[in-house]
Protein backbone atom coordinates (compact mmCIF):
# COMPACT_ATOMS: atom_id res chain seq x y z
CA UNK A 1 0.00 0.00 0.00
CA UNK A 2 2.73 2.42 1.00
CA UNK A 3 4.75 1.18 -1.95
CA UNK A 4 1.88 1.88 -4.33
CA UNK A 5 1.43 5.40 -2.97
CA UNK A 6 5.13 6.14 -3.39
CA UNK A 7 5.04 4.87 -6.96
CA UNK A 8 1.99 7.00 -7.69
CA UNK A 9 3.69 10.12 -6.43
CA UNK A 10 6.91 9.38 -8.32
CA UNK A 11 5.11 8.88 -11.61
CA UNK A 12 3.04 11.99 -11.29
CA UNK A 13 -0.36 10.38 -10.98
CA UNK A 14 -2.79 12.33 -8.91
CA UNK A 15 -1.25 15.72 -9.66
CA UNK A 16 -2.41 15.88 -13.23
CA UNK A 17 -1.89 18.61 -15.80
CA UNK A 18 -0.54 21.40 -13.51
CA UNK A 19 -0.42 24.26 -15.95
CA UNK A 20 -0.88 27.90 -15.07
CA UNK A 21 -3.45 28.78 -12.42
CA UNK A 22 -6.03 29.73 -15.09
CA UNK A 23 -5.12 26.73 -17.26
CA UNK A 24 -5.43 24.29 -14.36
CA UNK A 25 -8.87 25.53 -13.32
CA UNK A 26 -10.23 25.58 -16.87
CA UNK A 27 -8.90 22.04 -17.36
CA UNK A 28 -10.65 20.84 -14.17
CA UNK A 29 -13.90 22.59 -15.14
CA UNK A 30 -13.75 21.21 -18.67
CA UNK A 31 -13.60 17.66 -17.29
CA UNK A 32 -16.26 18.16 -14.63
CA UNK A 33 -18.71 19.82 -17.05
CA UNK A 34 -18.01 17.16 -19.69
CA UNK A 35 -18.83 14.36 -17.23
CA UNK A 36 -22.00 16.17 -16.09
CA UNK A 37 -23.20 16.49 -19.70
CA UNK A 38 -22.46 12.88 -20.78
CA UNK A 39 -24.12 11.45 -17.64
CA UNK A 40 -27.21 13.57 -18.32
CA UNK A 41 -27.16 12.48 -21.98
CA UNK A 42 -27.47 8.82 -20.91
CA UNK A 43 -30.71 9.66 -19.07
CA UNK A 44 -31.93 12.02 -21.79
CA UNK A 45 -31.70 9.40 -24.57
CA UNK A 46 -33.80 7.07 -22.42
CA UNK A 47 -36.49 9.67 -21.60
CA UNK A 48 -36.72 10.75 -25.25
CA UNK A 49 -36.98 7.12 -26.38
CA UNK A 50 -40.25 6.88 -24.41
CA UNK A 51 -41.83 9.02 -27.16
CA UNK A 52 -42.14 5.77 -29.13
CA UNK A 53 -44.62 4.50 -26.51
CA UNK A 54 -47.12 7.29 -27.14
CA UNK A 55 -48.45 10.47 -25.49
CA UNK A 56 -49.48 9.03 -22.11
CA UNK A 57 -46.09 7.48 -21.40
CA UNK A 58 -44.00 10.36 -22.82
CA UNK A 59 -45.94 13.17 -21.14
CA UNK A 60 -45.62 11.37 -17.83
CA UNK A 61 -41.84 11.06 -18.23
CA UNK A 62 -41.24 14.69 -19.31
CA UNK A 63 -43.37 15.95 -16.40
CA UNK A 64 -40.22 15.22 -14.34
CA UNK A 65 -38.53 18.16 -16.11
CA UNK A 66 -41.29 20.54 -14.99
CA UNK A 67 -40.49 20.07 -11.31
CA UNK A 68 -38.79 23.24 -9.89
CA UNK A 69 -35.89 21.29 -8.34
CA UNK A 70 -35.24 19.57 -11.67
CA UNK A 71 -35.50 22.96 -13.43
CA UNK A 72 -32.74 24.24 -11.14
CA UNK A 73 -30.64 21.21 -12.14
CA UNK A 74 -31.51 22.06 -15.75
CA UNK A 75 -30.00 25.54 -15.19
CA UNK A 76 -26.79 23.84 -13.96
CA UNK A 77 -26.86 21.56 -17.02
CA UNK A 78 -27.16 24.54 -19.39
CA UNK A 79 -24.27 26.22 -17.55
CA UNK A 80 -22.18 23.02 -17.96
CA UNK A 81 -22.93 22.78 -21.71
CA UNK A 82 -22.14 26.46 -22.29
CA UNK A 83 -18.92 26.44 -20.26
CA UNK A 84 -17.75 23.27 -22.04
CA UNK A 85 -18.61 24.84 -25.42
CA UNK A 86 -16.87 28.19 -24.79
CA UNK A 87 -13.83 26.62 -23.14
CA UNK A 88 -13.67 24.12 -26.03
CA UNK A 89 -13.39 27.06 -28.43
CA UNK A 90 -10.53 28.44 -26.33
CA UNK A 91 -8.76 25.05 -26.41
CA UNK A 92 -9.11 24.89 -30.20
CA UNK A 93 -7.79 28.43 -30.62
CA UNK A 94 -4.66 27.50 -28.65
CA UNK A 95 -4.36 24.11 -30.42
CA UNK A 96 -4.65 25.34 -33.99
CA UNK A 97 -2.98 28.72 -33.53
CA UNK A 98 -0.08 28.11 -31.13
CA UNK A 99 0.83 31.80 -30.99
CA UNK A 100 -2.41 32.33 -29.09
CA UNK A 101 -0.81 30.42 -26.19
CA UNK A 102 1.23 33.56 -25.45
CA UNK A 103 -2.04 35.25 -24.61
CA UNK A 104 -3.51 32.24 -22.75
CA UNK A 105 -4.31 34.25 -19.62
CA UNK A 106 -6.30 36.87 -21.55
CA UNK A 107 -8.02 34.05 -23.48
CA UNK A 108 -8.97 32.33 -20.20
CA UNK A 109 -10.45 35.47 -18.68
CA UNK A 110 -12.15 36.26 -21.99
CA UNK A 111 -13.76 32.81 -21.95
CA UNK A 112 -14.97 33.33 -18.39
CA UNK A 113 -16.23 36.81 -19.32
CA UNK A 114 -18.27 35.48 -22.24
CA UNK A 115 -19.58 32.60 -20.09
CA UNK A 116 -20.64 34.89 -17.22
CA UNK A 117 -22.30 37.38 -19.60
CA UNK A 118 -24.28 34.62 -21.34
CA UNK A 119 -25.16 33.02 -17.98
CA UNK A 120 -26.63 36.31 -16.74
CA UNK A 121 -29.07 36.20 -19.67
CA UNK A 122 -29.67 32.44 -19.18
CA UNK A 123 -30.40 33.04 -15.48
CA UNK A 124 -32.85 35.84 -16.24
CA UNK A 125 -34.67 33.48 -18.61
CA UNK A 126 -34.49 30.23 -16.60
CA UNK A 127 -34.41 31.01 -12.89
CA UNK A 128 -37.87 32.68 -12.70
CA UNK A 129 -39.28 29.31 -13.87
CA UNK A 130 -37.65 27.65 -10.84
CA UNK A 131 -39.04 30.11 -8.30
CA UNK A 132 -42.46 30.51 -9.87
Amino acid sequence: MADRQTRRRDEGYGRLYRGSREGQWSWVLHRVTGVVVILFLFAHVLDTAVVGWGPAAYDRVVSIYKNPVVQFLEWILVAAVLYHAFNGVRIMIVDFWPRAARRHRELSYGTIGVFVAVMIWVSIVMLPRVFR
Partner: protein, 155 residues
Protein backbone atom coordinates in the same frame (compact mmCIF):
# COMPACT_ATOMS: atom_id res chain seq x y z
CA UNK B 1 1.71 21.46 -27.99
CA UNK B 2 -1.40 20.57 -26.08
CA UNK B 3 -0.72 22.90 -23.22
CA UNK B 4 -4.16 22.89 -21.74
CA UNK B 5 -6.06 19.74 -22.38
CA UNK B 6 -3.83 16.87 -21.46
CA UNK B 7 -2.63 15.55 -18.15
CA UNK B 8 0.86 15.52 -16.81
CA UNK B 9 3.06 12.47 -16.65
CA UNK B 10 5.93 14.36 -15.13
CA UNK B 11 8.95 12.36 -14.15
CA UNK B 12 12.21 13.38 -12.63
CA UNK B 13 14.86 14.07 -15.22
CA UNK B 14 13.22 13.37 -18.55
CA UNK B 15 9.64 13.48 -19.77
CA UNK B 16 8.05 11.89 -22.78
CA UNK B 17 4.54 11.46 -24.02
CA UNK B 18 2.78 8.13 -24.43
CA UNK B 19 4.41 7.61 -27.85
CA UNK B 20 7.90 8.29 -26.54
CA UNK B 21 8.35 11.77 -28.00
CA UNK B 22 10.45 13.80 -25.55
CA UNK B 23 8.71 16.81 -24.05
CA UNK B 24 10.52 20.09 -23.47
CA UNK B 25 11.08 20.89 -19.80
CA UNK B 26 8.65 23.26 -18.21
CA UNK B 27 5.73 22.33 -20.48
CA UNK B 28 2.85 20.98 -18.46
CA UNK B 29 0.63 18.24 -19.76
CA UNK B 30 1.04 15.54 -22.34
CA UNK B 31 2.15 16.25 -25.90
CA UNK B 32 -0.39 16.20 -28.70
CA UNK B 33 -0.48 12.68 -30.17
CA UNK B 34 1.31 12.83 -33.53
CA UNK B 35 0.00 9.67 -35.18
CA UNK B 36 -2.01 6.51 -34.75
CA UNK B 37 -5.41 6.07 -33.16
CA UNK B 38 -4.80 8.68 -30.47
CA UNK B 39 -4.14 11.33 -33.11
CA UNK B 40 -7.41 10.57 -34.87
CA UNK B 41 -9.33 10.70 -31.58
CA UNK B 42 -7.57 13.98 -30.77
CA UNK B 43 -8.70 15.40 -34.14
CA UNK B 44 -12.18 13.93 -33.79
CA UNK B 45 -12.68 15.71 -30.45
CA UNK B 46 -11.91 19.05 -32.10
CA UNK B 47 -13.93 18.50 -35.28
CA UNK B 48 -16.94 17.08 -33.41
CA UNK B 49 -16.50 19.90 -30.88
CA UNK B 50 -16.96 22.52 -33.60
CA UNK B 51 -20.08 20.75 -34.95
CA UNK B 52 -21.45 20.21 -31.42
CA UNK B 53 -20.87 23.89 -30.68
CA UNK B 54 -23.70 24.59 -33.15
CA UNK B 55 -25.82 21.45 -32.62
CA UNK B 56 -25.71 21.34 -28.80
CA UNK B 57 -25.80 25.09 -28.14
CA UNK B 58 -28.58 25.41 -30.75
CA UNK B 59 -30.47 22.58 -29.02
CA UNK B 60 -30.08 24.35 -25.65
CA UNK B 61 -31.26 27.68 -27.12
CA UNK B 62 -34.34 26.13 -28.74
CA UNK B 63 -35.39 23.55 -26.17
CA UNK B 64 -34.33 25.12 -22.85
CA UNK B 65 -34.33 28.89 -23.43
CA UNK B 66 -36.81 29.58 -26.23
CA UNK B 67 -40.52 30.01 -25.49
CA UNK B 68 -41.32 28.63 -22.05
CA UNK B 69 -38.41 26.17 -22.27
CA UNK B 70 -39.11 22.55 -21.28
CA UNK B 71 -42.48 23.67 -19.93
CA UNK B 72 -43.90 23.45 -23.47
CA UNK B 73 -42.31 20.09 -24.32
CA UNK B 74 -44.78 17.23 -24.56
CA UNK B 75 -45.67 14.47 -27.01
CA UNK B 76 -47.42 16.88 -29.39
CA UNK B 77 -44.40 19.21 -29.38
CA UNK B 78 -42.00 16.38 -30.30
CA UNK B 79 -44.41 14.93 -32.89
CA UNK B 80 -44.80 18.33 -34.58
CA UNK B 81 -41.07 19.01 -34.45
CA UNK B 82 -40.14 15.59 -35.86
CA UNK B 83 -42.44 16.11 -38.87
CA UNK B 84 -39.46 18.01 -40.26
CA UNK B 85 -36.54 15.89 -41.55
CA UNK B 86 -34.27 18.79 -40.56
CA UNK B 87 -34.96 18.33 -36.84
CA UNK B 88 -34.79 14.53 -37.06
CA UNK B 89 -31.39 14.84 -38.78
CA UNK B 90 -30.24 17.50 -36.29
CA UNK B 91 -31.25 15.34 -33.31
CA UNK B 92 -29.70 12.19 -34.77
CA UNK B 93 -26.40 13.96 -35.54
CA UNK B 94 -26.40 15.51 -32.06
CA UNK B 95 -27.04 12.07 -30.54
CA UNK B 96 -24.26 10.38 -32.54
CA UNK B 97 -21.57 13.03 -32.09
CA UNK B 98 -22.37 13.70 -28.42
CA UNK B 99 -22.15 9.99 -27.56
CA UNK B 100 -18.85 9.54 -29.41
CA UNK B 101 -17.39 12.78 -28.00
CA UNK B 102 -18.58 11.95 -24.48
CA UNK B 103 -17.53 8.29 -24.40
CA UNK B 104 -14.09 9.20 -25.74
CA UNK B 105 -13.88 11.99 -23.16
CA UNK B 106 -14.56 9.47 -20.40
CA UNK B 107 -11.88 7.20 -21.90
CA UNK B 108 -9.32 10.03 -21.83
CA UNK B 109 -10.21 10.65 -18.17
CA UNK B 110 -9.73 6.96 -17.26
CA UNK B 111 -6.25 7.14 -18.84
CA UNK B 112 -5.36 9.60 -16.09
CA UNK B 113 -7.09 8.17 -13.05
CA UNK B 114 -7.29 4.40 -13.61
CA UNK B 115 -3.85 2.89 -13.63
CA UNK B 116 -4.55 -0.83 -13.92
CA UNK B 117 -5.14 -1.74 -17.59
CA UNK B 118 -7.66 -4.47 -16.75
CA UNK B 119 -9.81 -2.14 -14.65
CA UNK B 120 -9.55 0.57 -17.31
CA UNK B 121 -10.57 -1.85 -20.05
CA UNK B 122 -13.56 -2.96 -17.97
CA UNK B 123 -14.70 0.63 -17.32
CA UNK B 124 -14.22 1.70 -20.94
CA UNK B 125 -15.85 -1.49 -22.21
CA UNK B 126 -18.85 -0.75 -20.00
CA UNK B 127 -19.21 2.83 -21.28
CA UNK B 128 -18.70 1.69 -24.88
CA UNK B 129 -21.56 -0.80 -24.52
CA UNK B 130 -23.76 1.85 -22.84
CA UNK B 131 -22.93 4.23 -25.71
CA UNK B 132 -23.70 1.64 -28.40
CA UNK B 133 -27.01 0.64 -26.78
CA UNK B 134 -28.13 4.26 -26.38
CA UNK B 135 -27.02 5.11 -29.92
CA UNK B 136 -29.02 2.15 -31.28
CA UNK B 137 -32.07 3.03 -29.16
CA UNK B 138 -31.96 6.72 -30.10
CA UNK B 139 -31.47 5.91 -33.79
CA UNK B 140 -34.41 3.49 -33.82
CA UNK B 141 -36.67 6.04 -32.09
CA UNK B 142 -35.68 9.00 -34.28
CA UNK B 143 -35.99 6.99 -37.51
CA UNK B 144 -39.11 4.91 -36.80
CA UNK B 145 -41.19 7.45 -34.81
CA UNK B 146 -44.60 7.69 -36.49
CA UNK B 147 -47.11 10.02 -34.81
CA UNK B 148 -49.93 8.86 -37.11
CA UNK B 149 -50.31 5.94 -34.67
CA UNK B 150 -51.79 8.52 -32.29
CA UNK B 151 -54.19 10.66 -34.36
CA UNK B 152 -54.93 14.19 -33.28
CA UNK B 153 -51.69 14.97 -31.42
CA UNK B 154 -50.16 17.15 -34.15
CA UNK B 155 -51.43 20.71 -33.97
Amino acid sequence: MAVDTEPSSEQSGHRADSLGTPLPRGVAGRARPARGGEFWWWLFMRVSGIVLLFLAVGHVLIMHLGGSGVERVNFGFVATRWQSPLWRTWDWLLLSLAILHGINGLRVITLDYVRRPGVRLTINGFFTIVGLVLFALGTIVVVTFDPSKWPGVIK
